[in-house]
Symmetry: C2
Subunit: 231 residues, 2 copies
């Protein structure tokens, strides 16, 4: 398990340990000191091999979503809508396996995290669908932003420190009056812990599979409609 103590540490080992640490303690507990300790070394060693905390997280994101990309079918030979479904599910599965990474990725989506491979493949799929020029850009941003954003929202950590007091939330939802909030009250059982903003368990322990599949087909049907409109 632990690397041979005689061997020099490698950047790859740092990234791998960072992923495990993030899974164990979340974004908040992910400190350079904790990471160094797990590797049996000192914080400055991390800086030497990878760089700052942000650099480590970027590399982690690249690794996690890069691996997910490698499992996808070929965007050039799969029907575009089918490929987008595979891509979205693949992104979400990678996120679900490492929720802290997915949460971080929402607010740090640049080319080191969403790699050129992802970018090219999504653009290729949308291009094969028929999107061109500024419509290609818009369709790309629509798909990627909706996907990365939605999954980030779903995978909120259920960390009471961050403002989720389960009892208080349940009580708050229960106290909403039918006069002021008729639609919520009429659907309370259905919505509780299933609707964003009416749940107190994050997507890690409480995945919203049905909603995700619904959202995914909404995005793709919507994109299809945009093609019809331009044609």
């Amino acid at each position: 398990m632990t690397p041979m103590p005689e061997e020099a540490l490698s950047a790859d080992e740092v990234i791998a340990a960072a992923i495990v640490l993030l899974d164990d303690v979340g974004l908040r507990g992910f400190t350079m000191r904790a990471l160094a300790q797990r590797l049996g070394t000192y914080p400055a060693t991390i800086y030497w091999h990878v760089g700052s905390r942000g650099a480590v997280l970027s590399e982690v994101g690249g690794r996690v979503f890069g691996d997910a990309f490698d499992k996808l079918p070929d965007a050039g030979s799969t029907p575009w809508d089918e490929w987008l479904v595979h891509a979205a599910r693949g992104y979400r599965e990678a996120g679900r396996a490492h929720p802290a990474v997915a949460a971080w990725a929402v607010t740090h989506m640049h080319s080191r995290v969403t790699t050129p491979d992802w970018t090219e493949a999504i653009l290729l799929a949308l291009s094969r669908a028929g999107f061109r020029d500024e419509h290609l850009t818009a369709a790309f941003n629509t798909f990627l932003g909706s996907l990365v954003g939605w999954v980030g929202v779903e995978l909120i950590a259920d960390d009471p420190e961050l403002g989720w007091d389960p009892e208080q939330m349940e009580e708050g939802i229960g106290a909403l009056s039918a006069d002021d909030y008729p639609t919520i009250v009429a659907n309370r059982d259905e919505l509780t812990n299933r609707a964003f903003s009416l749940r107190w368990r994050g997507g890690g322990s409480n995945p919203l599979d049905e909603s995700f599949e619904f959202a995914l087909s909404t995005w793709i049907e919507g994109l299809r409609r945009q093609l019809d409109r331009d044609a």
Copy 2:
């Protein structure tokens, strides 16, 4: 500007100062000490009036998006699709006015931030559109997750500390080969700083208006198609 030194501080004043501080220094620079200093008091005073840093941010989110909600038309008398357009633009405008708050909201979307008012109104609009029971939940999550997530992705801070090295990114995009990344290269000028993952300027200074409107109509057309399918 500054409150009378004789007057006791109020929670409202703390929230108001917090919003200004967040606008000035971003999420990273938003510390309890800095907030206390701006109010001419001590960190413990913040704790007495509002609570922890997370509590302050929750209240800030509630205020920012609560004010945005108050400007929306009535969800019960506006056509559902039209109302969703207003709601989405209102949310995004509030986010653009306070990007740090929007970025925080993505990973902290619970009932104190996305208030019951928002939840009720969106549910009402979707209910009037024809969504029922589990389809109502799914449509709600689709709309809110896509919206909050997309805007959060758009409004990434352009903070070089966080991994955006402009020169390095521009160089990286320029170095992509046409063999490996034909679609990116063919559309490079169109995509650079306009496509998520190929930009190095966040949505605060570089808004992606066209893509947002495209995304919004994609979501709504997609939802319409879901209704057709069930009917």
